[in-house]
């Protein structure tokens, strides 16, 4: 198990970077998120005497999605609470993982808190996530999403879990850097968090779910209670699944998946498989991880054991 760098000295962590990767998000939504971040940072700083907290926005849109006045409004929400606010226009769609990596490279804070742009953190969330992270061997802590709580299982006493969702995850930079962050090449949108989590665990770190750290994640609920996926999300998810099977050495699951898809009945999955096949033929595939068997947690076609399932 890795040992955190400065925990022994009692002065860890001294700094936190908060990262939001944007893609065509609207200003009002981001101002609301900034207000939520401000309250969460204020509460976190009441417990942790942090020297520095920075908020970094990275924009993957084709054109900057936030106007100057909108950026100013966001700065105003965060003024007096954080030490620095920056906006970076990437001029390229790096994907959520790639954008997060790029933003992380802009600083050297001890802790990186990644928030999706469509989230809203409860005021105690940052403090609770940081407190759970402030322990030897813990690489990442995740909040509990509402209204669609993730059904992934966790240890009811310690919160230890198989993987952490990327929409609201707090990471030790040391751990994040040690595995080179997200793999944006194979996982530009989905599966990047599962992959990062399992590589962290392969490196000896542990991950924790913090159910008291509440995060609103704005996702629609279907009229029959199903969790909705767009075709683009479904395609990305299917492709991510196939790369995960490759990286974590499960050719049996890969084969079963490829054989299960009926091209006529599920054209989205068929499209993902076509992309997968094309790249495999071109040799563009992830290497299998040596520790795959120790960390990969495929259960009934899902990542990790689930406490319950949503329809859809």
């Amino acid at each position: 198990m890795p040992t955190a760098d400065a925990s022994a000295g009692g002065s860890w962590p001294r700094s936190v970077a908060i990262q939001v990767v944007l893609y065509d998000n609207d200003g009002r939504q981001q101002r609301r998120l900034a207000a939520g971040i401000a309250a969460a940072v204020r509460d976190m700083r009441s417990t942790f005497p942090l020297e520095r907290v920075a908020v970094r926005y990275g924009d993957c849109s084709r054109w900057p999605c936030l106007s100057e006045p909108e950026q100013e409004a966001i700065r105003a929400e965060l003024a007096g609470v954080v030490d620095d606010v920056s906006f970076t226009f990437f001029d390229a769609n790096l994907g959520s993982g790639g954008g997060s990596n790029a933003l992380a490279a802009l600083g050297d804070e001890h802790v990186v808190w990644i928030l999706n742009p469509d989230t809203y953190p409860s005021p105690t969330s940052a403090r609770l996530l940081l407190a759970a992270l402030d322990s030897d061997g813990v690489a990442a802590t995740e909040g509990r999403q509402i209204p669609i709580e993730h059904p992934k299982d966790y240890d009811p006493q310690t919160g230890e879990t198989s993987w952490v969702t990327g929409c609201c995850v707090m990471l030790r930079r040391e751990a994040f850097d040690s595995v080179a962050g997200f793999d944006a090449h194979f996982f530009p949108l989905y599966g990047d968090d599962v992959d990062l989590s399992w590589r962290l665990r392969a490196a000896g770190w542990t991950l924790r779910h913090v159910p008291r750290a509440v995060i609103v994640h704005d996702k629609p609920i279907g009229s029959t209670g199903e969790v909705r996926w767009s075709a683009m999300q479904a395609r990305s998810s299917h492709l991510a699944r196939l790369w995960l099977y490759r990286r974590y050495a499960r050719p049996d699951l890969e084969r079963a998946f490829l054989e299960s898809v009926d091209d006529d009945r599920d054209p989205v999955a068929a499209d993902a498989i076509a992309e997968f096949t094309r790249r495999v033929d071109a040799g563009d595939v992830p290497d299998a991880l040596a520790e795959a068997a120790l960390v990969a947690d495929f259960v009934d076609g899902r990542y990790g054991r689930m406490r319950f399932l949503y329809a859809g």
Binding site: A39, P123, P151, I221, G225
Partner: protein, 565 residues
């Protein structure tokens, strides 16, 4: 001037020479005075022919009459009354009245103005005069006199019901006396008096069910017709004044005196709140302050796209520490949200009490309810607003899903967790007949028009142990109608262990209160939306078909008859 209703005595020569009886206005005024002071003189401004003199004389009070009409003054003097002519609209009216009192060398214990102010185009001016008279008398004698008024009530059911039929029948005397130039409801009278520094001390209003307005003819809004019964129930729900023919009330001057012209004008003109200054939605969150799920509820509210809301966080607990803890939890949120939250302590009562207290203080156009284990999606408020823009004034409802929730062990990372996916246990759309059958809308799934609820006097029934929200929802829906959106915007979390009343209360309580709700609403006729007759028709045909299939009816039998009635 009302004539105390049908049966009141009048003489054509003196329009308002009404006889005294113990239940007349005069008898009531005399009793109100006698209940508060033992001796002294009653100064009667606008005395008419001095009938009050007879009434107060029976209790041993002196009587000093002032009237602007020479004939009335002459008539009173001819009856041996002490009467003086003073025009209350004249500039020197106050001085003249005081001269009359001084000349009489008496202590005035009450100043009356019976059936006067409705005849005046500017009652506020007259009330200022009255206040001036009272204040000046107060410094000349041992005690300040009380003030008594009688004023006809134009919010009587009979007037409103007839107006629905296009009738506004002015009569020689009565509620719509031809000489009335200013019309009063209780609210307007209260505003007039309070703005002039008078506080009500006693009342003995004249109650008349059937007024002179019911003649001639059998109007369908009166009597035992279904329409009358329905309208009557609506009117009685709105406020208790539908049967008051005449307000008969006594007042004392308050020490702060007149509150000033500006406030008086404000009271006159601002009876309807400015819609622009009101939040769209008042959200009442009901909590006992002990459940950590409250953080979920509050965070889901803070994340709303449409934040045109106020949150009334009703902490139903006597414990001051609980209140402080909840207050602290709210204070952690960003100012943009926390300043929209009012934390209120609620003591006593059952599940309805916090809702009723919130109903009184809410300012929103619409009113919605969350329990402290409900959560809403970020478009919850925005969806309600979209429905309201499409169907203003109706109950608005959006989709709601159910999720199981369980308590966790004390040593675990949290004291609760959900344990199921979502189930769509409730219909996606609101259906009135379906809603009458049983509660099909969790309280987190709808919002009601607040002004309608207040105007109709709908509150949460505190006699119910459960189902209070269902009854309230039905009352609104059966009066205002409902509009909906299929989009799911709320999650009703159903406890599988511990939790809210759904499991705490026994099935017998639920059944009993369910039946009580139906029986209570069934006491008066019910409005149903267009298309309901066809639905009922088809339901009867369906019953006939089932009865036939069960062999309890032959196909050629007559129409099915509901024999349960």
């Amino acid at each position: 001037m009302p004539d105390d209703g049908p049966g009141g005595d009048s003489e054509r020569s003196l329009t308002y020479d009404f006889a005294y009886s113990w239940q007349s206005t005069y008898g009531r005024v005399a009793r109100l005075i006698a209940s508060q002071v033992e001796t002294g003189t009653v100064l009667d401004l606008g005395a008419g022919v001095g009938t009050l003199g007879h009434a107060v004389g029976r209790y041993g009070f002196g009587y000093l009459a002032v009237d602007a009409d020479d004939d009335n003054v002459a008539a009173m003097r001819s009856r041996g009354r002490e009467a003086v002519r003073v025009d209350l609209l004249a500039d020197d009216a106050v001085a003249r009245v005081l001269e009359v009192v001084e000349a009489a060398e008496t202590t005035v214990v009450a100043v009356t103005m019976l059936d006067v102010i409705e005849h005046l185009p500017d009652p506020d001016r007259t009330m200022r005069l009255l206040r001036d008279v009272v204040d000046r008398l107060a410094v000349r004698q041992p005690v300040a006199p009380m003030v008594l008024l009688s004023v006809p009530n134009v919010a009587h059911y009979d007037l409103g019901a007839k107006l629905l039929l296009g009738r506004w029948d002015v009569t020689p005397t009565g509620l719509l006396d031809a000489t009335h130039v200013t019309l009063f409801t209780e609210e307007r009278l209260d505003a007039l008096m309070s703005s002039n520094g008078f506080a009500e001390t006693c009342r003995d209003d004249v109650i008349i069910e059937a007024t002179e307005q019911r003649a001639p003819g059998d109007f369908p809004v009166f009597g035992s017709t279904m329409l009358a019964t329905h309208l009557r129930a609506l009117r009685d729900g709105a406020d208790p004044n539908g049967r008051i023919y005449q307000f008969v009330r006594s007042y004392r001057g308050t020490s702060d005196g007149r509150r000033g012209e500006a406030e008086a004008r404000r009271v006159e003109t601002d009876a309807v709140p400015d819609a622009g200054s009101r939040p769209f939605l008042s959200v009442v969150v009901r909590t006992q302050g002990t459940r950590s799920t409250l953080l979920d509820t509050l965070t889901s509210l803070a994340a709303q796209h449409d934040r045109d809301i106020e949150v009334l966080l009703m902490v139903h607990s006597d414990d001051p520490d609980t209140l402080a803890r909840v207050d602290g939890e709210v204070a952690r949120f960003e100012d943009g949200f926390s300043r929209r939250v009012a934390v209120r302590q609620v003591r006593g009562g059952g599940r309805s009490r916090p809702l009723n207290e919130a109903l009184v203080s809410a300012r929103g156009r619409y009113f919605a309810i969350l329990d402290d284990d409900d959560i809403v999606t970020p478009d919850w408020v925005a969806t309600f607003r979209q429905i309201v823009e499409r169907s203003p004034g109706r109950l608005v409802r959006a989709g709601c899903v159910v999720q199981g929730i369980v308590e966790r062990e004390p040593d675990e990372a949290i004291d609760f967790s959900v344990d199921s996916g979502f189930s769509a246990d409730h219909p996606a759309h609101f259906d009135t007949l379906d809603a009458v059958r049983s509660n099909r809308s969790p309280s987190c799934s709808y919002a009601v028009p607040l002004d309608a609820a207040r105007a109709l006097g709908f509150t949460f029934d505190e006699s119910l142990r459960v189902c209070e929200d269902w009854k309230f929802e039905l009352q609104i829906a059966l009066t205002c109608g409902a509009a909906d959106a299929e989009r799911v915007t709320s999650v009703y979390r159903r406890w599988r262990s511990g939790g809210r009343a759904s499991l705490d209360e026994g099935a017998a309580v639920w059944i009993a209160d369910h039946e009580a709700v139906i029986d209570g609403l069934d006491e008066t006729p019910t409005l149903l939306p267009a298309g309901s007759l066809r639905r009922i028709h088809e339901l009867y045909r369906y019953v006939e078909q089932l009865e036939t299939e069960l062999g309890r009816r032959r196909p050629d039998d007559g129409p099915y008859a509901d024999t349960s009635r």
